[in-house]
């Protein structure tokens, strides 16, 4: 009786061992394609979503080191040769430019690269927009550099007061808020994505300051930027686009009377009639008009209602 029972237990263990062995084999072999997985699990998990992984690139293509080595060999082998490890922020461009030379060339004309060169490594480099290990194709909806994700990606830094003031005081942090007032955003946030996002006007790689005459957002270049082939083509408009704020917001119009407008920008000046900021005063006018008319007439309706309790019959 007891011998049959112990035989059964033994059989069970053998069975479990066999199953566990094959399970382990299948799990380990599934991870075999990226050698660094056994230590850098999170990073490699991210890397599996990377377009480069799909195309057959390995860790060593960016990080350097020995390609032949894998988990079974200790890391001294991995880190042999031209091993880089974690590249510094100013060095990231060099790695990407090995293949993406055109993009790197464009990027090196940008204000972001200027800042890095001047010793502000927190300025945006390739990985800030495209992702570090999870670099997806631009056409991928989950890509941070995808057209409709561009506002959120840029806002990561440009709405952050600490980052914006850490290395250069004076960069406006309301760019995302002001973009949200635009029709472009209202359409985009409702799933109509054929509208301008950040990179469409400011360029993706050659991002320059609007004060730079070669920038797409420099006042004189705005008609060309807005009139781009896929945006508002065949539309004749002169530099009038400069007479107004592209990034407009209610809070920018405080209603303060300005008699000497020499301190104002061209864009801001266009809103003024005499010392009055029309954007403020028109909104103010409608606020009081609406409150007045609706208030008075709603009061009338209420009076009308109440009067019925007194008068039995109106007619």
């Amino acid at each position: 009786m007891s011998s049959t029972s112990s035989l059964r237990t033994k059989k069970k263990y053998v069975l479990i061992t066999i199953i566990a062995f094959f399970l382990l084999i299948s799990v380990v072999s599934a991870q075999q394609d990226v050698s660094c997985y056994h230590c850098h699990t999170t990073v490699v998990d991210e890397f599996r979503n990377n377009i480069h992984y799909e195309m057959g690139f390995s860790c060593a293509d960016c990080h350097g080191g020995s390609e032949g080595s894998n988990s079974s060999v200790i890391s001294s082998n991995v880190m042999s040769g031209n091993f880089i490890g974690k590249p510094t922020r100013s060095h990231i461009t060099d790695i990407c430019s090995k293949c993406h030379s055109k993009e790197a060339e464009d990027y090196k004309q940008s204000i972001h690269w200027d800042a890095i060169k001047k010793g502000h490594p927190e300025a945006a480099t390739c990985t800030d927009c495209h992702g570090v290990h999870e670099i997806r194709a631009i056409s991928d909806n989950k890509s941070s550099s995808n057209h409709q994700n561009s506002p959120a990606t840029c806002a990561k830094c440009h709405s952050n007061t600490e980052i914006m003031s850490a290395w250069y005081y004076g960069i406006k942090t309301d760019r995302m808020d002001t973009y949200k007032e635009s029709f472009h955003w209202k359409a985009l946030s409702n799933g109509y994505s054929i509208v301008a996002t950040c990179a469409d006007c400011h360029e993706n790689h050659i991002t320059k300051s609007h004060t730079d005459p070669t920038s797409t957002t420099y006042i004189d270049n705005l008609p060309g930027t807005c009139g781009k082939e896929n945006c508002h083509p065949d539309v004749k408009f002169d530099a009038d686009i400069a007479a107004g704020l592209v990034h407009d917001k209610e809070s920018l119009h405080t209603g303060e009377l300005v008699f000497n407008k020499s301190g104002l920008t061209t864009q801001m000046k266009a809103y003024y009639l005499g010392p009055f900021d029309l954007a403020f005063w028109i909104a103010e006018f409608f606020k009081y008009l609406t409150a007045g008319v609706i208030g008075a007439f709603t009061g009338m309706v209420i009076l009308d209602c109440l009067s019925r309790f007194k008068l039995k019959k109106r007619w």
Partner: protein, 249 residues
């Protein structure tokens, strides 16, 4: 007084289906005016439904409505189509009343008068129980306010709406900043118009106990003798006087 007197004065040949034997109806609106009002209702409601989600993009109902009407692009197309309809309606209205309608402009009953200001105060005192209900002519001060309010709103909304629909063409004539100003005017005026129609106008023609659930004048164009006597007594007396004169000789 059971003769159908008032119809003789109107340009309508038939009375509406709910006519009772011997009941007298008074022509309130011509068929032309009724159609204008119907087109106005249709385009206005479409514009409110497709416009408000953009005026208040952060509310919970904004994406709900936009999805219900078929997405943002469809919303824009509906809004533009209804907007153009309203512009055409406005132009038609002005052209008709300036060039087709032969009554001299100064004799139109729609102009505000001193009596309207007096009636306004008397109405308030009436509500407070301290005066008689004012006697109105063809148009009461409320109706004149409705009309001129809608007139002002149409001008504001149509002009700014066209600027917003063709911003780059407009920028050939105005600075870019004024397109933003057009946005402010368009959306604020739209909100005012919507609130006024939904609260005040609908009270007068729908919710008010005299007419609840609605005054049928917007469908039939007619008012009953009872309604006429109490809502437009001066006009009623005038019609009766004219009828009597006509019948005398």
């Amino acid at each position: 007084m059971t003769k159908v007197l008032a119809v003789e004065l109107s340009d309508s040949k038939k009375l509406s289906g709910d006519t009772k034997m011997g009941e007298v109806f008074f022509k309130r609106f011509t068929f032309n005016q009724l159609v204008q009002h119907w087109v106005m209702i249709g385009s206005f409601m479409a514009l409110v439904v497709t416009g408000m989600p953009v005026k208040f993009p952060d509310t919970w109902w904004s994406p709900v409505i936009i999805n219900l009407v078929g997405g943002f692009e469809m919303r824009t197309q509906i809004h533009h189509a209804a907007g153009i309809t309203m512009v055409v309606l406005g132009v038609y209205h002005i052209v008709f009343h300036l060039f087709v309608d032969k009554d001299p402009l100064s004799e139109r009953k729609v102009w505000p008068t001193i009596k309207d200001a007096k009636d306004f105060w008397q109405t308030i005192f009436f509500y407070l129980g301290k005066a008689e209900q004012p006697k109105f002519g063809r148009y009461s001060w409320k109706e004149k306010f409705d009309y001129w309010g809608a007139f002002w709103g149409m001008v504001m909304l149509c002009v700014t709406g066209l600027i917003l629909m063709f911003p780059f063409q407009a920028m050939n004539f105005i600075p870019y900043a004024y397109v933003h100003l057009a946005t402010i005017i368009h959306t604020d005026e739209a909100l005012l118009a919507t609130l006024f129609i939904f609260i005040v106008h609908w009270w007068n023609v729908h919710y008010s106990p005299e007419v609840f659930p609605m005054s049928k004048a917007w469908i039939t164009g007619n008012l009953s003798e009872e309604q006429m006597k109490h809502e437009h007594p001066l006009e009623y007396e005038e019609i009766m006087r004219q009828m009597a004169e006509k019948n005398e000789p």
